[in-house]
Amino acid sequence: MSLSSRHLLGLQGVSKEDIQLILDTATTFREVLERPIKRVPTLQGKTVVNLFYESSTRTRISFELAEKRLSADAINFAVSTSSVNKGESLKDTVRNIEAMKVDMVVIRHAAAGTPLMLTKLCDANIINAGDGIHEHPTQALLDMYSIREKLGRLDGLKVCIVGDIAHSRVALSNIFGLKTMGAKVSVCGPSTMIPKYIEELGVDVIYNIDEAIQENDVLNVLRIQLERKAREYFPSIREYAKYFGITSERLEKNKKDILILHPGPINRGVELSSDVADGPYQIILQQVTNGVAVRMAVLYLLGTLN
């Protein structure tokens, strides 16, 4: 089996079969990660560039590790060490990179649509590692993988995405992916952080976190990006934590059994209290491990397509 597209730009429009294939392939690589020697020769001779226009530690390291575990040659191209600061356009940067004969480009960029733009500028396989507030497909894939690993299925599950939906690429990718896989998706957050027309995507909107906890099997809690504009959308961190923060008291009050995901890094005491972040319901560190396996699967499936 192989994927029906040679790029992974987002999960909008990606078929159930393709997502299934990525998740199943990731299961195989997940086993590799438990071996004493965690490296397979699958992408030997392939060159992957991690083109990061936006600072990212965990996504970049996760991709880099995935590339190395597959024996690909991984090159990191980060903004601070590149010619971008010299005013080179994205087009020129990408053409230069392509001239170095790379096979795949993993791109993280603050502007939405940049991965699609790259597909028109070069022949490499493009993987979106997060574009603006658009999509972050590998994050959603690893979230789905982690849910499936824990609960055995996605179909029919009730999943609520909590936090700043309007400024989250993780939310949109999760909505597309989860709905395709048959989950029932809702979003919960302050009304200023819910996009105006989100219901057209077939998701329910909940403004009450207790209700979200009661009614769902899974909460995917997003990071409130305190460093971004997010802070303008609610009165104070205190108020956010009070009305949308997930605490163990809240979980116990409403329901015992729930699965909590968080893409990290966590703002402890804001979206998750420390005891929840370290507690029995969360699978935050499994997500990190699974992230490497899922990214290996994506790299492998795209890299061996041609």
Binding site: Q12, S89, L90, K91, H109, A110, A111, A112, G113, T114, L116, M117, D131, G132, I133, H134, E135, A166, R169, L172, P195, K196, Y197, I198, E200, L201
Partner: protein
């Protein structure tokens, strides 16, 4: 030089003129005779057979960015005028967001000088405030004397209600309009219209209420001051409705729409093509329908292109970083005929009103007449020719259009003005 235009259909609704097989005889740029089967007993007459073609008073595009002075790499007065002629216009009004802004008589005179001798008349729109900064009124009287036909801080709305009030009051002395780019500053800054598409594309959005708020403010201040507001590039359904109601109340407000705002919706942004990025942004189907209704019932007076040339390197950027705007002079008429005339939404007479008559009224300019003794200021139209937009053939210096390779029906095939003719792709003196 003598020129005989034979067998066209001549139309000018203001003269109650709509005649088939109509001949126009022009000598030294002046209409010397009109009528059927004109026999000119003179040797050296150049005769052009225009059977099946339509002649209208010359079209004017009252919303054009000529980029000179400041960005001559994108457009100059000359190349912009060439593009206008090629698009079927005998006149343009150029917006003041140049560098420096058109906020002094010197800049107005400079632009007039750059345009002198061209077939296309250039009417500068001067800044309403110094440097378009929204702080101090521009020297409106001097600007008017130098040749400015309206005032605008286009690119942005006049910053404060108090300055707009003063601008409206001051401009009352000249009966010139304030042209407003209606957008609330605090809601501005997005890359596309706020809709389900902006969520799907992950693009920062501009809600149409950003436009509506300023349209409402402007209408209220026009009512209060008795001044004249012209709403540039109207794009939202609510704004169209507000203008309609304001007109019913006798408030002095007029409105224009661009061809892209009645042709495209924000679905076009789905490819992240930066040539679909403009301000106001492409809206929804509901807005397009309201605009067409507004065109039909006269709420929207004029069609103007918001011709906004940009360099290739600026438009080849990430969508969020690319500048707003598209070139429009050379596709405007083709789009209007395709989308409005051939879809039977507007008649040819109505289109002539919106392209030649009403826009001049807005700027207090006399519309040309197809009549003996008048300067020949004419647009020659082929309403039925099917053609494909080819941006590489544009006479504009810039190529930023979303309409490349689009099939259109109808275009201008020539223009005549200032003793010059543009026909068959060439300028000639007549």
């Amino acid at each position: 030089m003598k020129l005989l235009l034979k067998n066209s259909t001549a139309i000018n609704p203001t003269q109650n003129l709509n005649e088939k097989e109509f001949d126009i005889f022009i000598e030294d740029g002046i209409i010397k005779e009109t009528g059927k089967n004109l026999q000119i007993n003179s040797g050296d007459v150049k005769t052009i057979d225009l059977s099946g073609k339509t002649i209208s008073p010359g079209f004017i595009d009252i919303h054009v960015h000529l980029r000179e002075p400041g960005r001559e790499d994108e457009e100059t007065v000359e190349t912009g005028c060439n593009a206008a002629a090629n698009g079927g216009f005998t006149a343009v009004a150029c917006m003041p967001n140049t560098e420096p802004a058109i906020d002094s008589a010197e800049v107005v005179e400079f632009i007039k000088k750059q345009a002198s001798g061209h077939l296309v008349d250039v009417y500068p729109v001067a800044a309403a405030s110094l440097g378009r900064k929204g702080e101090v009124l521009s020297p409106m009287a001097e600007l008017k004397d130098a040749g400015a036909v309206a005032f605008s801080d286009d690119g942005v709305a006049i910053k404060s209600s108090s300055l707009l009030k003063r601008a409206l009051e001051y401009s009352l002395m000249f009966d010139l309009p304030i042209i407003e780019h209606c957008e609330d500053e605090s809601l501005a800054g997005g890359a596309m219209n706020e809709s389900i598409n902006s969520t799907l594309l992950g693009l920062p959005a501009i809600p149409n209420v950003a436009e509506d708020l300023i349209v409402m403010r402007d209408i209220l201040l026009a009512e209060y001051t008795g001044g004249r507001v012209h709403i540039a590039h109207i794009s939202s359904a609510n704004a169209v409705n507000m203008v309609r109601e304001a007109k019913k109340k006798g408030i002095k407000v007029t409105a224009e729409v661009t061809p892209h705002h009645f042709t495209l919706t924000d679905d076009a942004v789905k490819t992240y093509d930066t040539n679909t990025k403009m301000n106001p942004p492409l809206r929804t189907r509901k807005d397009v329908e309201a605009i067409i209704e507004g065109l039909k019932d006269g709420t929207i007076d004029a069609i103007a292109s918001d011709h906004a040339p940009h360099s290739i390197e600026e438009k080849e950027m990430e969508f969020e970083y690319a500048p707003n705007g598209i070139v429009g002079l050379e596709t405007s008429i083709g789009l209007a005929f395709t989308e409005l005339l051939h879809k039977k939404l507007l008649s040819i007479e109505e289109l002539i009103l919106k392209y030649a008559i009403n826009p001049r009224k807005i700027l207090n300019l006399n519309a040309p007449l197809i009549q003996k003794g008048n300067i020949a200021n004419l647009t020659i139209l082929d309403t039925d020719v099917v053609w494909t937009v080819d941006k590489t053939k544009f006479l504009s210096k810039s190529r930023n259009t979303p309409f490349h390779k689009r099939l259109l029906t109808g275009k201008a095939i020539g223009v005549i003005n200032n003793r010059k003719m543009f026909f068959d792709g060439r300028f000639t003196s007549i």
